[in-house]
């Protein structure tokens, strides 16, 4: 997997998986090692406020609800 794909996967997982979000915040070095990502990038993820992540999820639910017959997004990692 390319570096860009690994970064996108980590950011996406943080939006979908609350347990992963908690780990990014509490043990960023371990997450960086497990995912072979630079620690500086995982620290950038950890710096995204919990309020902004909640707003992303709220917006995601809203878009799922209003889009023309599209089945709900699969949210399980």
């Amino acid at each position: 997997m390319s570096e860009s794909a690994k970064r996108q996967s980590a950011l996406g997982r943080m939006m979908l998986d609350e347990a992963f979000e908690a780990r990014v915040r509490s043990e960023p070095a371990r997450v960086a090692e497990e995912l072979s990502l630079p620690l500086s990038f995982v620290l950038e993820l950890a710096a995204i406020s919990a309020e902004r992540v909640r707003a992303f999820r709220a917006s995601q639910r809203h878009k799922d609800a209003v889009r023309g017959g599209k089945p709900p997004t699969k949210l399980r990692w």
């Binding site: 860009s4 794909a5 939006m15 992303f56 709220a58 809203h62 889009r67």
Partner: protein, 277 residues
């Protein structure tokens, strides 16, 4: 300079009222949500029928031009066929990534996720735009999404850099700009910058279309919910953009939820027309 066309995002609830609308000149153009045809093929017939009265342009939410795992080729083939079948003048989607590698295969986030727009992201955009063009040879526009995460920072320096990176992304994709002035206004509020610093970094020749909608607050942040009337700040930005964008061809009012009557949207169309040079 010819005046830009003004119209609305076509939703199912407006199909019948538009068929019954006596004054065709109440709007100039309709924008179809091209992805929606994949969930109900009857929409194609409705769009082709309305396409006899108004020009159609097409918008999407599922391309993911920044997906580092590559575009969904099956989706691109299906959308390209639908674009040709409805005779869309152009096709637009959002500057973002959507699909990521999960443990059991690709996962659709269902929401536009922000790109860092570093060299790696620009290379991905270039490759994905080339893949799109293998199927779709028409004009492609990239929309600036509202980045709720504020991933790249705060303040005017961040706003200026966002404008520069948006322009770099347009060049990488050889795309036109669909400038969503509501997204810009909401992001500027969330991230504490002036919309003007973003606009100053635009390649204005590329601006082909403007979107307007109404957002709302969720917690302490603004989201682009498309469920309220266009607000004053977005109208002012339209006026500003229309003066600077010589290639502007269309202005579209979007509403996805809490849909008003067609007449209410047509009042917004009339207001937009009054703001254009």
């Amino acid at each position: 300079m010819p005046r830009a066309s003004v119209g609305i995002g076509l939703r199912d609830a407006y199909v019948e009222p538009l068929r019954d609308l006596r004054d065709r000149r109440a709007l100039d153009v309709l924008e179809v949500m091209i992805d929606d045809a994949q969930f109900d093929r009857r929409r194609m017939d409705a769009w082709r029928s309305l396409g006899q009265r108004w020009p159609l342009v097409a918008h999407g939410v599922a391309l993911g031009p920044g997906d580092a795992i590559g575009l969904d080729r099956e989706y691109v083939r299906a959308v390209s066929a639908d674009l040709a079948a409805v005779g869309a003048r152009w096709y637009s989607d959002h500057l973002c990534f959507l699909r990521v590698a999960g443990e059991r295969g690709p996962i659709d986030l269902g929401h536009f996720a922000p790109l860092a727009l570093d060299d790696g992201d620009l290379a991905v955009l270039r490759d994905n735009a080339a893949a799109l063009r293998e199927q779709y040879a028409g004009t492609f526009l990239l929309e600036n999404p509202a980045d709720i995460l504020g991933f790249a920072g705060q303040g005017d320096a961040h706003g200026r850099e966002s404008g520069r990176r948006y322009t770099a992304a347009l060049r990488a994709c050889a795309a036109g700009a669909l400038l969503d002035v509501t997204n810009l206004a909401l992001q500027a509020r969330n991230d504490g910058f002036s919309a003007g610093v973003f606009l100053d970094e635009l390649d204005w020749d590329r601006v082909v279309e403007v979107h307007l909608a109404g957002g709302r607050r969720s917690g302490g942040l603004w989201i682009d919910s498309h469920d309220h009337p266009v607000d004053e700040e977005a109208w002012a930005l339209l006026e500003h953009v229309a003066r600077r964008a010589d290639n502007l061809r269309a202005v579209i009012i979007e509403r996805d939820d809490r849909l008003p009557t067609l007449e209410v949207l047509l009042d917004e169309v009339a207001h937009a027309r009054r703001l254009l040079p």
